[in-house]
């Protein structure tokens, strides 16, 4: 068990080991993820009120650092960056020389990875590195990363990790895990190791063994959080639900609200799609290839000779949701949704994935009740 001084020491130890420490901090009216120079930059005393299409910071009297839910970014911002240069080419003397961009990425230590995001990283691990074509950008950043997980004790109004089986207790994959406790006994973190390096770093911190009461209080706080989820998914096989509702009228309904702006996919911690952009300079002797985030809501994303494959907003929203909740299983063996609620919060017109799934579920039940 460590106190806030121990948390400060943890950041110092990680930095001394050469890690770029990234964690939550308050900026521009939100708790964003950014490089931390010290634990003092953590959002001590800040909570959030979350609803569909709405995010508001709220000050907390208890001074807790991690009693807030997912913010506007996810860790993919660092592991799967929005823009990456892949190669450069120079033309000199009639010869073209192509050079791969193999800049050594920073070694990240992520502080405050929630259970849902831990699962999201595992999903991206599978998508981007487990297949026959390992993505060197993600793989390089991921293999050097040190993960400090935080168990959720205060879910947001848009959280539904319990429905997706991804939290609020931290699953495997972390190097260290913290559970924050703020009560009459003080501000403390129950900290455990999850890897050899995690145990090594733990040994460098001066803490005291957690009493049975602390473990009980921490476990209790996480269990209580599971009872306070702001959202739930319908209690059904979502993969099957997606497969049998492809012609449901609800898709027209959601398309009438969807702006196809792409925000849901860009904040989603598992969405991974990219496009390539080739640029040349004025002389034409220097060219670069960049990989940038792209999303299935973009008309250009499915543009083939003859036009976009998914021209209507209905088909694009349906593609996103049925892939996320359904065909992701066929492709990658799991759901693509981890229940973090970001797509719900950051949709400018408050489209709620749980509400859409519930409406589709209701439609199937009504269809079953009605005589054919």
């Amino acid at each position: 068990m460590i106190g806030t001084d121990g948390l400060a020491a943890l950041v110092d130890v990680l930095r001394a080991r050469g890690y770029t420490v990234v964690g939550p901090t308050v900026r521009d009216g939100a708790i964003v993820l950014a490089e931390l120079e010290s634990a003092a930059q953590l959002p001590y005393g800040w909570g959030v009120d979350l609803d569909a299409g709405q995010y508001r910071l709220r000050s907390r009297t208890d001074g807790a650092a991690f009693a807030n839910a997912a913010g506007p970014q996810s860790w993919k911002t660092f592991l799967h960056p929005a823009r990456v240069r892949q190669w450069t080419a120079e033309r000199a003397g009639g010869e073209l020389v192509i050079e791969a961009d193999d800049t050594t990425p920073p070694r990240f230590a992520f502080l405050g990875v929630r259970s849902c995001d831990l699962r999201a990283i595992a999903v991206q691990d599978r998508v981007l590195t487990a297949g026959p074509h390992r993505d060197p950008v993600y793989g390089g950043r991921r293999s050097g990363a040190f993960l400090v997980a935080v168990e959720c004790t205060e879910p947001g109004g848009t959280c539904f990790c319990v429905s997706m089986g991804t939290g609020p207790a931290a699953g495997p994959g972390y190097d260290l895990v913290l559970t924050e406790l703020v009560d009459d006994e003080g501000h403390r973190f129950w900290i455990r190791g999850g890897s050899a390096e995690g145990a090594e770093i733990l040994a460098e911190l001066s803490g005291e063994p957690a009493s049975e009461a602390v473990c009980r209080a921490a476990t209790g706080a996480v269990a209580a959080a599971a009872e306070r989820m702001g959202r739930t998914m319908p209690d059904t096989d979502l993969r099957r639900l997606m497969a049998r509702t492809l012609e449901a009228p609800r898709w027209d309904d959601v398309a009438s609200r969807c702006l196809t702006c792409g925000n849901c996919t860009m904040v989603c911690p598992t969405c991974f799609c990219t496009t390539t952009e080739d640029v040349t300079d004025l002389t034409g002797d220097h060219a670069e290839r960049w990989r940038v985030w792209d999303v299935c809501f973009d008309l250009d994303f499915s543009y083939l000779p003859g036009g976009p494959v998914r021209a209507s907003p209905r088909s694009r929203y349906r593609q996103w949701l049925t892939h996320k909740l359904g065909t992701w299983y066929d492709q990658f063996g799991s759901s693509g949704c981890v229940g973090c609620g970001r797509c719900v919060v950051w949709c400018p017109v408050a489209i709620d994935i749980t509400e859409e799934a519930a409406a589709l579920y209701d439609w199937t039940r009504r269809a079953e009740e009605e005589p054919r």
């Binding site: 995010y55 910071l57 702006l259 860009m266 080739d278 004025l282």
Partner: protein
């Protein structure tokens, strides 16, 4: 420098404020490399004296390999001149909201130009003008349209660079939201309730306004097939009055066919758009 195999560039002005042409002059670091690759053959804004080969006339003689056209068509003379420019240009690229969508002056399309003429000018009989302000594409085929009021310097260089390399310019057609997310700006609508046109507005500015806490006001014009009904509902939800909603759509790109009659607004807050043939 003066090798004759450089392609020639011409810059043209119609009804506009000159801001988009100035963007070319703002390419300070790139201007010299640019002139190494392109012969700037006709560019009145930049010229101090007449070039012997290129008299500084409004029409130019040509032919030109690349014509950049700023401004909208608002007079009968404009109509004649834009056809002439098309004839003497191998590639014609419009630059900015006026040339691409009619510009601020496109507001006349929703009102009576005779009334304006009488109210604004002391001697209205000297004013020769069309009833509408129309984009260049309403008159001649256009090879590429660059958005913005004004255009983005980086995008202009990209279009010229792509022309020189003979490739498609990398000018994405997605929403401004993409640019906010890629640069890591927290959504100001969701986090602060600021009304913002970003979700229905064509990218290209680099999401400048939201990065400084200001809502996008659509100076790059609409994305393809914007869901305006939903956008208008959201702007109302974020506290924008109906009158202000009409205004925000009816500013820089008022004559964009996508905006049409802004849906979801009461009839008295909107006015009928001109008939399709008038607009084209």
């Amino acid at each position: 420098m003066d090798s004759d195999d450089r392609p020639s560039l011409a810059v043209w002005k119609f009804a506009s404020c000159d801001g988009c042409q100035l963007t070319l002059l703002d390419c300070e670091d790139e201007l010299l490399p640019l002139t190494g690759r392109l012969r700037i053959a006709h560019f009145l804004e930049m010229s101090t004296a007449e070039d012997a080969r290129e008299p500084a006339t409004l029409a130019g003689t040509g032919p030109y390999d690349l014509s950049l056209v700023e401004g909208s068509v608002t007079t009968a003379e404009d109509v004649r001149r834009v056809h002439h420019i098309r004839r003497i240009s191998r590639r014609l690229v419009t630059i900015g909201a006026c040339a691409t969508a009619g510009g601020v002056q496109g507001l006349r399309n929703f009102a009576d130009v005779e009334e304006f003429r009488a109210a604004v000018y002391a001697s209205p009989e000297y004013i020769a003008t069309l009833a509408t302000s129309t984009p260049i594409s309403a008159h001649v085929p256009v090879d590429f349209e660059l958005r913005g009021c004004p255009i983005d310097r980086g995008q202009l260089l990209e279009v010229i660079t792509a022309f020189l390399a003979g490739r498609k310019p990398n000018i994405p057609g997605h929403s401004v939201c993409f640019e906010c997310k890629r640069r890591g700006t927290t959504c100001i609508t969701v986090a602060r309730g600021v009304p913002c046109l970003g979700p229905v507005t064509h990218a290209g500015c680099g999401a400048l306004c939201p990065a400084y806490g200001r809502g996008c006001y659509g100076c790059f014009g609409p994305v393809a097939h914007p869901n305006l009904e939903s956008m208008v509902r959201q702007l109302r939800h974020d506290g924008m009055a109906g009158r202000d909603i009409v205004r925000v759509f009816r500013t820089f790109n008022a004559a964009s066919p996508e905006y049409g009659p802004v849906p979801g607004l009461a009839a008295q807050e909107s006015t009928e758009p001109p008939a399709e043939e008038e607009r084209r």
